[in-house]
């Protein structure tokens, strides 16, 4: 029996300005048999999330767009169904758990769909207990989903889907936030389940080996099948030369800094200690940020690696002057730095680019900082902005909030490119866009002499170009290696 039959699916998002949008998915075909395990690989912005939502009947119902084609889910015609009609048929585990939560406690979160299905309270209680135990969240039953870490939230979403137990699971980057143990557990669950599972991912993880019956590539709006070996070679990190053809970044630090004509600056952290009270439900020891030594100079690229919750953002917030610390010192060019000094010199590209977007066009967003500085003429501003948009492949008249996530991230980087902060912290840049684009941004910023601190949980990203790598583990920041 066919779980999912898609014929000639095409989808284009609605355009909110005069410009017509390009179709995201074009004449896509897919057949998935009952019980089959399918892996769909696609680079960021390839249409994975849109595709997942379409087959759950959530788009175009909640986000406007033009959909055409034939879709059958368990022999039901999708366009005749409302999302709630398909609860038992297909379940969507989102890439971003936070946006899917509807309750104030974990157990209520799992219970919500069961209440919708009209199950009696004993049955609900038994199911809630069973799935929370399975996914290791029993101790969090009465806690709020917001108190959980990234990995725990992902597991909560997976618990909800286990509780619903539909015939088709759609897992959008479900492996992403999980640590190795849980990734292995999830891979095992998928392999041994008799349900249909469609997994979507931007990277080929080693846990995927031998789990899936078919591997497909979502490229240019359509799907085509590939072997596991091809998938592995396309979706794992390639050599740095393939991403950065003749960038200065491939050269040692000495030649990079001699090519740079501007002022050479340095931030140094010595003996830093910061104590943070924990706000979770458990009475734990306070979190202590401990950094004996950290330094970054103009033109340098430094990596900060650590798992979720290890203290990367605690350190970053201190480094840009947003939060205070209890002991130690931070020096900017040899002088002790105040919060104000750090805030003016260290920029922080938050993971969510929407935190700084507020203007109707890309042009206005980029020009705003320059206008406020008051030192440029209108002509100079226009020139700078146009040059910047060409460099970052942005469209001057587009509305930022309607651009894709990767483009908004690029805009965020472009804004800071024009602001010319001597130090920049890039938080999880590689998760938002393709490796090519991420390396390009790093290269351009470094060319301007910017000292870059790259935060990532992918230990392969930027490994060859980093002048130093620091790790953060339970609040302790130490140097791992230097180039």
């Amino acid at each position: 029996m066919e779980s999912l039959a898609i014929e000639n699916l095409s989808f284009t998002y609605k355009s909110w300005n005069e410009k017509k949008n390009q179709p995201l998915l074009e004449k896509l075909n897919l057949t998935v048999l009952s019980g089959e395990k399918v892996l769909i690989l696609s680079p960021p912005e390839g249409g994975k999330t849109t595709f997942s939502r379409i087959i759950n009947a959530l788009i175009p119902k909640f986000i406007d767009g033009n959909l055409s084609g034939n879709i059958h889910v368990n022999d039901k015609v999708l366009t005749d169904c409302q999302p709630y009609d398909l609860v038992r048929d297909i379940c969507y585990v989102s890439q971003n758990p936070l946006e899917m939560f509807v309750s104030t406690t974990c157990e209520n979160e799992v219970a919500f769909p069961l209440e919708s299905l009209g199950l009696d309270s004993h049955c609900i209680a038994a199911t809630v207990h069973r799935v929370l135990e399975k996914w290791g969240l029993l101790s969090f039953a009465k806690a709020s989903p917001f108190e959980l870490s990234g990995g725990e939230r992902k597991r909560l979403l997976l618990s909800v889907s286990s509780a619903i137990d539909p015939s088709i699971f759609v897992l959008d980057e479900a492996f992403d936030d999980l640590d190795a143990t849980w990734r292995n557990f999830l891979a095992q669950e998928i392999k041994t389940s008799d349900k249909t599972v469609i997994t979507l991912s931007a990277r080929y993880l080693r846990q995927f080996e031998g789990v899936f019956d078919k591997v497909l590539l979502l490229e240019k709006g359509t799907l085509h099948q590939v072997t596991e070996a091809e998938a592995r070679s396309l979706f794992t990190h390639k050599t740095i030369e393939s991403y950065l053809k003749d960038s200065l970044l491939l050269h040692p630090y000495a030649s990079r800094v001699s090519a740079y004509q501007g002022i050479r600056q340095e931030v140094r952290v010595e003996g830093l200690l910061a104590v943070r009270k924990r706000e979770s439900i458990k009475d734990e020891q306070p979190f202590v940020m401990d950094c004996a030594h950290f330094a970054v100079k103009s033109c340098e690229v430094v990596r900060l690696i650590g798992s979720n919750g290890s203290g990367k953002s605690t350190f970053s917030r201190i480094a840009c002057g947003l939060d205070s610390f209890d002991h130690g010192s931070i020096f900017l060019n040899g002088k002790k730095a105040t919060d104000q000094m750090l805030q003016s010199n260290v920029g922080y590209l938050f993971q969510n680019p929407d935190y700084q977007i507020f203007l109707p066009t890309v042009y206005e967003e980029l020009a705003w900082g320059l206008v406020n500085a008051g030192t440029y003429t209108n002509k100079e501003i226009r020139e700078k902005v146009e040059q910047c948009t060409a460099l970052f492949s942005l469209n001057l008249q587009e509305t930022p909030t309607t651009m894709s996530f990767a483009l908004r991230k690029k805009l965020q980087a472009a804004v800071y490119y024009l602001l010319e902060r001597p130090f920049l912290i890039l938080d999880e840049l590689d998760g938002a866009m393709s490796y090519e684009d991420a390396y390009f941004i790093i290269s351009e910023l470094s060319k301007k002499g910017c000292a870059l601190i790259i935060i990532t949980h992918d230990d392969q990203f930027a490994q060859e170009i980093a002048d130093a790598t620091y790790t953060v583990h339970h609040g302790v920041l130490e140097v791992l290696d230097e180039r």
Binding site: N96, E107, L114, S116, Q343, Y355, F358
Partner: protein, 256 residues
């Protein structure tokens, strides 16, 4: 952000059915407005404070007391304006500053206000929000309204956290210029971009929240069941009736 006003404590209030507690609070609020003696209003106020001390402890009771103290003092300050034609208590030269009836009037306002404050504070401090919502549903508040309120509680920490991050993000983007940033004009000007981003980020979450609700079955014609219920509480009708009788008796005894 703390969205829980529930405070751990002890005593019968924690064991009482939320439905009875709501009725008790309402009866008390009505009673203090009825034409009853000054003494009985003072009695009700002191009794509420006493229950608070027993159930919530000294620290929590003090917090409630301090939150309304400024208001109580202001009300007392205005006593000279009441009942100017009454028995003079305090004269300044030949002008009557304060009358006995005036003081009494403002004191009764104070104690009434105190009773209402403690009654509502006790209700929310001793009842978990989940159970309070179930009580409202029992009073025939439609499920849609209860779900909306529950979603509000779910959204508040999220929006609060992103608000703080947005303020920080804009702060860093602005940097600090050489101009004096303390001027109110600059502060207001800086508020605009921050509030715009904050509102856009919140509005963005609406379609995905709606998606989640429907994907989890909201909208199905089948009748929704309830995971939690108030069945563990017994005889709530009896308690509500007893409370009603108590206040009726008090009224009969202390009416003016």
């Amino acid at each position: 952000m703390n969205v829980s006003i529930f405070k751990q404590g002890k005593g019968p209030l924690y064991l009482l059915d939320p439905r009875s507690k709501v009725m008790l609070t309402l009866y008390l609020c009505v009673y203090v407005f009825l034409p009853v003696t000054f003494a009985s209003v003072v009695g009700v106020a002191l009794f509420s404070i006493g229950i608070s001390l027993y159930s919530l402890g000294k620290k929590n009771t003090l917090t409630i007391w301090l939150s309304v103290l400024p208001m109580l003092i202001i009300m007392l300050i205005f006593s000279p304006l009441y009942e100017r034609g009454g028995t003079p208590l305090w004269m300044w030269g030949t002008t009557v500053v304060l009358t006995k009836e005036g003081l009494l009037q403002s004191l009764i306002l104070d104690f009434r206000f105190l009773s209402i404050t403690f009654a509502w504070s006790l209700l929310f401090a001793t009842t978990k929000m989940d159970e309070f919502m179930l009580a409202l549903q029992a009073f025939h508040l439609p499920y849609k309204a209860c779900l909306t309120i529950s979603l509000v509680f779910r959204s508040i920490p999220d929006i609060f956290d992103s608000f703080n991050d947005i303020i920080d993000s804009h702060k860093l983007r602005r940097g600090t210029s050489t101009k004096v940033q303390k001027k109110v004009r600059h502060r207001l000007k800086n508020l605009g971009p921050t509030l715009t981003s904050a509102l856009v980020v919140s509005l963005r979450s609406i379609p995905t929240l709606a998606m989640s609700l429907e994907a989890r079955g909201y909208g199905l014609k089948t009748k929704r069941s309830q995971f939690h219920s108030l069945d563990s509480y017994r005889h709530h009708y009896l308690y509500s009736l007893v409370f009603f009788m108590i206040f009726v008796t008090l009224f009969i005894l202390f009416q003016q």
